[in-house]
Structures are given as C-alpha cells and as structure tokens.
Symmetry: C3
Subunit: 138 residues, 3 copies
C-alpha cells in the first residue's frame, strides 16, 4: 500500500517547527502495520531534522551552533543575491537533511521516545514550505 500527502508549513523565519503530529496522524490514519514513512521538504533553504523533543534549549543551542559554523555575510560567499542569509541557508540545508524515513512498527510511528521531526527554516524571513509524506507498507 502506498499513500501520499502534501502539506504546507508557514515559517516565521529562522527556527524549527515541530511536525511530528502531522507525521504520526498520517501513519495512524492509514492501515499500514509495518512499513516506512518518508518525509521530504521541497526546498533548498529549509531542511528536516530528528531532534530531541523535550527541552527547547536543544534547538536554540543548535541554531546558535549553526549560526557560528556558517556565518551570515561571510566574505567567502559570492552567492548573495537574496541577502546575507542566502548562501548560509543552502549550506545549512545540506549539512542537515532534506528527507528522512521513519519506520512504522505495529501500526505506529516508530520514533524513539525523545525523537521529534522538525522542519528547520534557514532564511531570516518566514516562508511557505511544502512537505511531502509518502507511506509504503503492508
């Protein structure tokens, strides 16, 4: 069985949006008992991560780390058409993930206890980001 769903996330600029509930609902609304759920973001300036879901300072520390690792306005970058955050957004996307698969185990989302699925906006301004869910299983 294969099911697919596309939805949008409105971001408010740099930072993470928890989309775990959407993924879990997509899985439990299906009849899949064993399988895989693919999560895909159709952009090159926003990405996906599996991240600790309890303490929000994990995600603010992650943001601070990435801002230091890939500095906005770095003189190294030629690609600055859309601003100082343009090229860093592409690099941050590649250093994290555009797609993630989560196992479906006995009809349920197989994430570990502390794992959440987050969309990570890398541009300073808010954007509408498309996410594609594809579920394959029995």
């Amino acid at each position: 069985m294969i099911k697919q769903k596309i939805f949008s996330v409105e971001t408010k600029g740099r930072g993470t949006t928890n989309i775990t509930a959407q993924v879990e609902k997509f899985i439990t609304d299906s009849d899949v008992h064993t399988g895989l759920c693919h999560v895909f973001v159709r952009h090159t300036s926003a990405s996906l991560i599996l991240c600790e879901n309890a303490d929000p300072t994990v995600r603010s520390d992650l943001e601070a780390f990435m801002a230091r690792l890939v500095p906005d306005g770095d003189a190294l970058f030629e690609h600055i058409l859309e601003g100082e955050d343009d090229m860093p957004a592409h690099i941050r996307t590649i250093l994290s993930h555009s797609d993630i698969h989560i196992p479906v185990i006995q009809g349920r989302c197989g994430l570990g206890t502390w794992q959440g699925v987050f969309l990570w906006e890398h541009r300073s301004a808010g954007h509408t980001r498309q996410v594609v869910l594809t579920l394959i299983g029995d």
Copy 2:
C-alpha cells in the same frame, strides 16, 4: 514483501560499532531479490554513518574532527543538564544521519566495496541503542 527487525547495540561510550554484518544477514536471510533496506537509530545522541571499512584510523580521525568541530563544554551551549557531552551529542547526530537506506541488488547487500554501516555513539558513557531494520522488496 516487507520485513522488520529491531535489535540493540551496547556501546562503550564515544566511538563507532560496525553493524554491517547484522544488515547483511537480515538481507540474505530474506527472499528479497531487489529492494531497499532501511536502517534507523531511535535516539538523538547516537547516529549512523556509511564509512570506509578498512583502516580504523578513518574512524579515529573522524572522531577527532567532530570533537574539534563540536567541542564538549562549549560556552555557547545552555543545554548542559546531562553534562558537557550532552548538546554536542545532539549536534553530532544531526550533522551525521539517523537513517540510511541500502539497495538490495540481486539478493545481496548493495554496499560498495569500501562502505560499512556504523553506529556512532556520541555520549561519553556507554548506552543501549535500538536499531530498526526494515526491508522492502520483491
């Protein structure tokens, strides 16, 4: 056809554990001729890598590089509840991978000659880490 298996890896603190044999056995024990094998780690402080499988200094160099890139005890981090290695473990996980798919080609694990699958423990102390294998194919 879909098959799934969950197993645990006992780690001894920071470092890599080669789990290629478990993945290969799971594939060859099945009747799948063409397909994909998903490997997933259910934690946010341990990750997966496909890494050169011959010279162990590749993995010690990788560990040294990551320790320098994401230093324990960095003053940048607020999330230090579980110690100086807590937040670096989350970042190292995101910079590497929580899931990997390996193609099944003519009934065999389709890794390249030099590719091995390694679980990478990022905490200083040993942990029990759960790995989920899911195989889809014909």
Copy 3:
C-alpha cells in the same frame, strides 16, 4: 513495482555533477504513479546533495565552505595514505549524504522547483562513481 538501475558517473576531481536528468528519466520511463526513488552512491569519498540548481556560484561557494571546514592536509589526520585529500573526502561524504529519496508524485519526479540532484566528488583526482537508482511505487 520495483525497478533498479546502476550507472556510472565519470568525475573530473572535486566538484559536482548534475544527475537530475538521469533520475527524472528513470522515473518517467517507469509506470510508477506514486512512490519513491532512491539514489545511492557506492563510495566513501563521493556523496549526494540536493542543491539549488540555478546559480552555479551556490555550488562553488559550497565547495569553498567545505574546503575551509575540512582542510586538506590538516595535521589532525593520521589517515593520509592516499594523500592530503583522502581523509577530508571521507568526512565531507559523511557531512553530506550517501543516499537520498525523492517522492514520485502523479508519475513525475517530485523535486521542488529549485532542487537538483548532484553527485559531489570529494577527491582531487577524477574517479568513476557508481550510482544505484531504486524505484518503489504503484
């Protein structure tokens, strides 16, 4: 339905090769309406990225960033058998991706407008790199 294809890419040393057309053709030549296409590179010194496909300075900036982040000839590295670019190539591979899944949506490659699939050679010299495409869907 499952289809699989292996092809080679001749690289000319460090840099990216756009393989989006090969992925798109593999998808449209099949009869899959809804599914997933897996792209896998069978090496530990070359990787895959989904990257902005319009302005080539995005990829030269990315290359410059990685060259600074993981310097050739870094005194940290013991694994230098094949040269100063050997260990950096392994690290660059792990920091990017060995496999990517792209959704198939209504019979077409589901990449976003600005996403391209690139093979990224990390060695200074050119190599022959094997790529495995596996398509699962209805």
